[in-house]
């Protein structure tokens, strides 16, 4: 799939933002006053910034409101609702916190909604049978664990962040390892795509068009294997290993910030790979994968 900047930014930033909101919502002793303001401002900036980036992916953003209509069937619609509800609930929660009132159940509800939002985002990808690499429980698992990790880092929870870094790093490594086999496992091949398998081995010959088109631009993105391997190592180092080490160093504020920066950079690379490495079955028709 085409690694569109808008979606990479969106999923990464909003993951961080909603991840932070989860922790803020769950915090039994939430910050209040200006401290609360700063935390929530950061969370909203990230979540809203992400959403703003995502709207760049819409070709008709002026109609974006229509996206709320299909919550019964569409994960994208559910994500929109999730974001709206999570942000509203948390706004109320935050407003009250500014005035020093902590309505904890509201925080829990907001946290749940924030998690659900990240989950819905992930389900947009995980539901797609057409992209076997995504069509797996591990997609939401990874999105959620990364959101929680990022949130933990943002909210300065060293222990939680450390543990989550290990979990999400391990999960990410496994996802790559397993993901590489999912296309084959899905069983969709040029033979099944054309129905010509019974008479021999089919192979794409003349392209249907020599000019490009939406499908090729959007769904047939090819990354070199070596390049991808290198990026995986970089991503894992940045998103998990380096922050984990940094977190164990003294001066939590300095190194914590560095850990956050490193983690975010790593997640961005991982997200780039998430899209760039995802093979859509339609590529088969074009003789690619």
């Amino acid at each position: 799939m085409h690694p569109a900047k808008s979606i990479i930014l969106f999923t990464t930033l909003s993951g961080l933002g909603f991840g932070l909101l989860v922790w803020l919502g769950l915090d039994p002793t939430p910050p209040t006053g200006w401290v609360a303001f700063v935390f929530f401002a950061v969370a909203y900036a990230l979540a809203l910034g992400g959403l703003a980036a995502s709207s760049r992916h819409l070709r008709r953003p002026e109609r974006a409101l229509k996206a709320f209509s299909q919550w019964r069937s569409s994960w994208l619609s559910r994500e929109a609702w999730g974001a709206l509800l999570a942000l509203s609930v948390m706004a109320l929660y935050a407003l009250l916190l500014l005035f020093g009132v902590a309505v904890l159940p509201l925080g829990w509800l907001g946290a749940a909604l924030s998690l659900a939002t990240v989950g819905a985002t992930a389900m947009i990808y995980a539901q797609l049978k057409t992209v076997p690499r995504w069509h797996h429980w591990s997609t939401p698992a990874l999105f959620l664990s990364l959101a929680l990790t990022g949130g933990a880092l943002l909210s300065g929870r060293v222990l939680a962040a450390s543990l989550l870094l290990i979990v999400s790093g391990a999960l990410q490594a496994w996802v790559w390892w397993d993901g590489d086999k999912r296309f084959a496992r899905a069983g969709t091949t040029l033979s099944s795509a054309t129905g010509l398998g019974e008479r021999g081995t089919p192979r794409a010959l003349f392209p249907p068009h020599t000019g490009s088109n939406y499908l090729l631009d959007e769904m047939v993105y090819v990354v070199g294997r070596r390049h991808a391997q290198k990026l995986r190592v970089i991503a894992l180092l940045l998103m998990a290993l380096l922050p984990l080490i940094l977190l164990q160093l003294p001066l939590p504020h300095v190194f914590g910030l560095l850990a956050l920066v490193s983690h975010t950079a790593g997640v961005l690379v991982s997200r780039w790979l998430f899209f760039a490495e995802a093979e859509h079955v339609v590529g088969l028709y074009y003789g690619r994968r």
Partner: protein, 249 residues
Amino acid sequence: MTDLPQHSEKKLGLVIDLDTCVGCHACVVACKGWNDQAYGAPLSDSEPYGADPSGAFLNRVHSYEVLPETGPAQHVHFPKSCLHCEDAPCVPVCPTGASYKRAEDGIVLVNEDACIGCGLCAWACPYGAREMDPSAGVMKKCTLCVDRIYNDALPEEDREPACVRTCPANARHFGDLGDPESAVSQLVAERGGIDLMPEQGTRPVNKYLPPRPRDGWGGDTDVLAPYLEPVAEEPEGFLGWLDRTLGKL
């Protein structure tokens, strides 16, 4: 609502005959031409005379080479447009309800006025049957020429999709695949029509008729051999045969 209709009696669709398609792209351009001025926004092109021309088409013709175990390589031209799936994954993913499957005949359409151009439906379609319009920014797909097949303004015989009407090799057939008695259903039954990517679970309405066996060399050699039984090896012998045969005439 983007829920799929429970059940549609009528399942309008296309049957594509891979045995006769010569890969001429007539259906591709007829489709472009019709839809450029029919349903929804015109089908636009970007950089039409530039270095990187591209554009929205609703029907594309691929071509595949097949290497059998024995015998020469075969070549199959392969037109592809929306298959109007019964379990169309492109419909439920749509956040706006723009993408829908008509209850009365199963045609999958995009309501362009409601489309936000998110592209998710195209991601969900395994067949590459949806293309975003570069200018209008709305999703385009085969409409099964819904504005032709019921069109009172057209003569009866023209109430068929533009691609079917134009196909010079008669490789495209249109009809109700929900009716086992229809000509298309019969054709599918007779020729063993197949689904594309059955494992995707989309249950396409459109069917593909596989190419008939090719290059039957050797199969009926015995039947054919007697036809070449020599009457003569040498010209003289041949002339003798000629004499005998003509004498009889």
